[in-house]
Symmetry: C2
Subunit: 273 residues, 2 copies
């Protein structure tokens, strides 16, 4: 049975999932959070399906050990693979959500013309998960998708500002066809991508709604916990534990860009394999 | 004792070390080669020293199991870390070489003005290994070094041509200070970097000698094996085995860019952890 005192678990291949944690803190400031970033093996999005499944199984076992009341798979790549994989079939967490369904729900609600763009990692695009979910919700929608492999390194190295030549180059390279297809909604299907929101938004124009899967998933989980009376009490002082598989020092260096500097969290190194 | 029939072992974090394998094949076409690319955990160069050491130990154990007569650590990052680490102290391979010393030797031989540039991964630059080795060889040389974290993703995604805007941008970003310092020799201290040789060479100018560690290490190992009469016989038909930790299919897709298409090799998936 769900214990409202238990933490919310979030995992990602690296630091990107902290964009989701940031939104959880904003919406649910009294929740304990256990975050896992597999920074010793990041990125997942360029690897084979088989390797992603192996890593995801270890991530899930880690979350199970921490007795979380809810597990959010913030990693777009794992979310994409899990949809058609048995990796979650023997998972012992009561409630578990990837980011694909919340993002597809939000995109379907936002679009007016039924033309939706999807950008994500190569593994996510290969899986076809967004297409399947969007077609289930809106059988007549048209979907335009593209892998954006250079976005993760651009974000990790801080090339994210409007006017920054390589950021502008790759946004144009990856998004021109999608823009020309007349979409009015764009799913930014990787936890790193929202950090390029300004450049992507300026290129796509104000008529296009950008969907950040981490954010909309946090919002959907807030509604779910509230409906079940499973939120922690307002006098609880939240404890935030950030686990990483590479060094805590390296994690701390990179986390600020995603989480902001005001969050008081403990960073702990752990092993999965 | 070294058996001249045994293979030459080469390992790297990913496919980049195939630039070294290519040179071995050119210089020593009758040698069997066992290559290991840890593609399920690539890249190493952005990780902590501790994680790099853990991965390197597993790579070395793999090579030991294959009874190689010579082991080349083609990975610049592992080569950098091993120099001041005990990871090789209990290694059972007779002869083992990283790429740092051969590259420093070649740079010291090439420079006329004693001003040498070094570009590599963040972990390699942090280690200070090139500085130490160059100062040992040439106490009065001046060294100008810089980490180039965007070069690996540029190479892996094929943005390597002269005139390609992001390649030109990052070459200028990373190399302007080094160029302005008046170096006449530049060590391209990561196995991926030689694929950007044309852009780097055009930017630095024809007066600057570019050193490719994988190539010069292959050449130094050729001399060493020849001197020891440890080369395989000229009637031996070489067998080339390429092991990878992520899928063989994905490896095959990426290997061609580094190795060329004419090489007949077997690709085999393996596990290390």
């Amino acid at each position: 049975m769900t214990n409202f005192n238990d933490a919310i678990g979030v995992f990602d291949s690296g630091v990107g999932g902290l964009t989701c944690v940031k939104e959880i803190i904003r919406l649910m400031p009294h929740e304990d959070i256990v975050y896992l970033g597999d920074t010793a093996r990041v990125p997942y999005g360029t690897r084979s399906r088989e390797t992603i499944e192996r890593y995801a199984r270890q991530d899930i076992r880690f979350m199970e050990k921490h007795n979380v009341k809810l597990m959010i798979v913030a990693c777009g790549t794992v979310s994409a693979v899990m949809e058609t994989s048995p990796i979650f079939s023997d998972c012992h967490v009561n409630c578990c959500s990837g980011v694909i369904i919340p993002a597809a729900d939000a995109a379907a609600a936002a679009t007016k013309n039924g033309r939706i763009g999807v950008i994500a990692t190569q593994a996510s695009i290969n899986s076809g998960c967004y297409e399947r979910e969007l077609k289930r919700l809106m059988p007549h929608c048209e979907i335009f998708s593209r892998a954006c492999p250079m976005f993760v390194p651009l974000v990790e190295n801080g090339y994210t500002q409007v006017g920054c030549p390589p950021a502008e180059f790759f946004v144009k390279e990856y998004l021109s066809d999608i823009k020309n297809s007349g979409v009015d909604t764009l799913i930014m299907g990787c936890t790193h991508f929202p950090l390029l929101e300004d450049v992507v938004g300026a290129f796509m124009g104000s008529g296009v709604t950008l969907i950040s899967p981490g954010k909309v998933t946090a919002a959907q989980m807030y509604d779910a916990l509230k409906a079940q009376n499973a939120l922690n009490s307002p006098d609880h002082k939240a404890k935030i534990e950030l686990y990483c598989t590479d060094s805590a020092e390296l994690f701390a260096q990179n986390a600020g860009r995603f989480l902001g500097d005001s969050v008081n969290a403990q960073i702990i190194q752990c092993t999965l394999d």
